[in-house]
């Protein structure tokens, strides 16, 4: 099990929140797990999508922490479209704040290169944490 300080986001959680914010910016404020996994893989240019267990465990943690809102869509909508019901997520205000804080602390902690720019965070990994 991954250990971390209270209130600190894990790299995968930062990536998930970033992907969620990016989807919201693209006009999709609510997204399902697969859409998030696809957005993550696209952003990281990875061939493999995040594993089911890793993805949904992390989403559950973020929802429990209040960084994501989760709701089940109307079963009638899913039935009309001939597919299983989706669980829809949305990045909350506190999720956006936690992401911004995490990015700020990463920038602060990152080693500074010779030209004075902070080192970039590595691209999110598609393999499970």
């Amino acid at each position: 099990m991954v250990r971390r300080a209270a209130g600190q986001l894990l790299p995968l959680e930062v990536d998930l929140l970033s992907a969620g914010v990016a989807l919201a910016d693209r006009g999709e404020p609510e997204f399902h797990g697969y859409a998030l996994a696809a957005a993550l893989a696209e952003g990281a240019d990875a061939k493999r999508l995040t594993a089911h267990g890793t993805l949904y465990k992390a989403l559950g943690r973020l929802a429990e922490a209040g960084f994501l809102d989760a709701r089940w869509e109307d079963p009638a909508v899913a039935e009309a479209q001939g597919r299983p019901r989706r669980r829809l997520y949305r990045v909350t205000g506190s999720g956006a704040v936690a992401l911004a804080e995490s990015r700020a602390s990463d920038r602060f902690a990152a080693p500074v290169s010779r030209d004075g720019r902070g080192a970039r965070r590595p691209a999110p990994s598609a393999s499970p944490a």
Binding site: H32, Y34, H52, G53, R83, P84, S127
Partner: protein, 214 residues
């Protein structure tokens, strides 16, 4: 060919669904159903996206199997976490049930003590007055019979599950010990019995914490 037709043939899909059935077993119906629905939805979207991108069925099946296999450690850790929560809730429920049963038994015992005490007062004062050849003290008889009636009524109500009857019995316990104010230990015992009956009445009438929170 529709997504559901493609899905029906994918080994990776079947594998993911069976694994989900397995690791969500004995976790409670709601938790299990939600996780199974979430994985079913993910697999459906994955297959649909792969079909739209023109990927082969074999490649999609392999990708699904890989996502399932690589997620096993996280699934098992999630299951452990859920099971721990489930066990903790069951343990707390059992403890609450146990303490409630104990309180019921104690309240019944205290009620019987009160009842026995009043009967004893009546018998002792009856024997004393007949031995001394004194005329019957009708005030004391009325008091004892009245207290006895209230105690019986309180006990019956308490045994039928009316917790507020404990207050009635507490009043009787205090009232009956007033006859023996010159022996300090008796009012003290009466106070303890009345106190425990009042405590029982208050706690038994209070709704459980989870109901208040909910």
């Amino acid at each position: 060919m529709t997504t559901s037709q493609i899905r029906g043939r994918l080994a990776g899909d079947r594998l993911a669904q069976r694994w989900t059935q397995l690791y969500t077993s004995r976790l409670g119906a709601e938790v299990a159903l939600e996780r199974r629905d979430e994985i079913a939805s993910d697999v459906h979207e994955h297959v649909a996206a792969s079909a739209a991108a023109g990927r082969s069925r074999a490649a999609t099946s392999r990708a699904l199997a890989a996502r399932m296999l690589l997620g096993i450690p996280a699934d098992l850790s999630w299951r452990r976490h859920r099971l721990r929560g489930l066990h903790r809730a069951e343990k707390e429920k059992a403890m609450a049930r146990h303490s409630s049963e104990l309180a019921d038994r104690l309240a019944s015992a205290a009620s019987f003590v009160v009842l026995g005490w009043i009967v004893l007062i009546g018998v002792v004062s009856g024997i004393a007055s007949s031995r001394d050849g004194r005329p019957t003290d009708w005030v004391s008889v009325t008091l004892v019979v009245g207290l006895l009636g209230i105690a019986v009524a309180g006990l019956v109500r308490l045994l039928r599950g009316h917790a507020e009857a404990a207050y009635l019995l507490a009043v009787v316990a205090l009232g009956s010990t007033f006859c023996f104010l010159w022996i300090p230990v008796i009012p003290l015992v009466g106070l303890v019995v009345a106190g425990s009956l009042i405590t029982y009445g208050v706690t038994a009438r209070r709704p459980p914490a989870e109901q208040v929170a909910g």
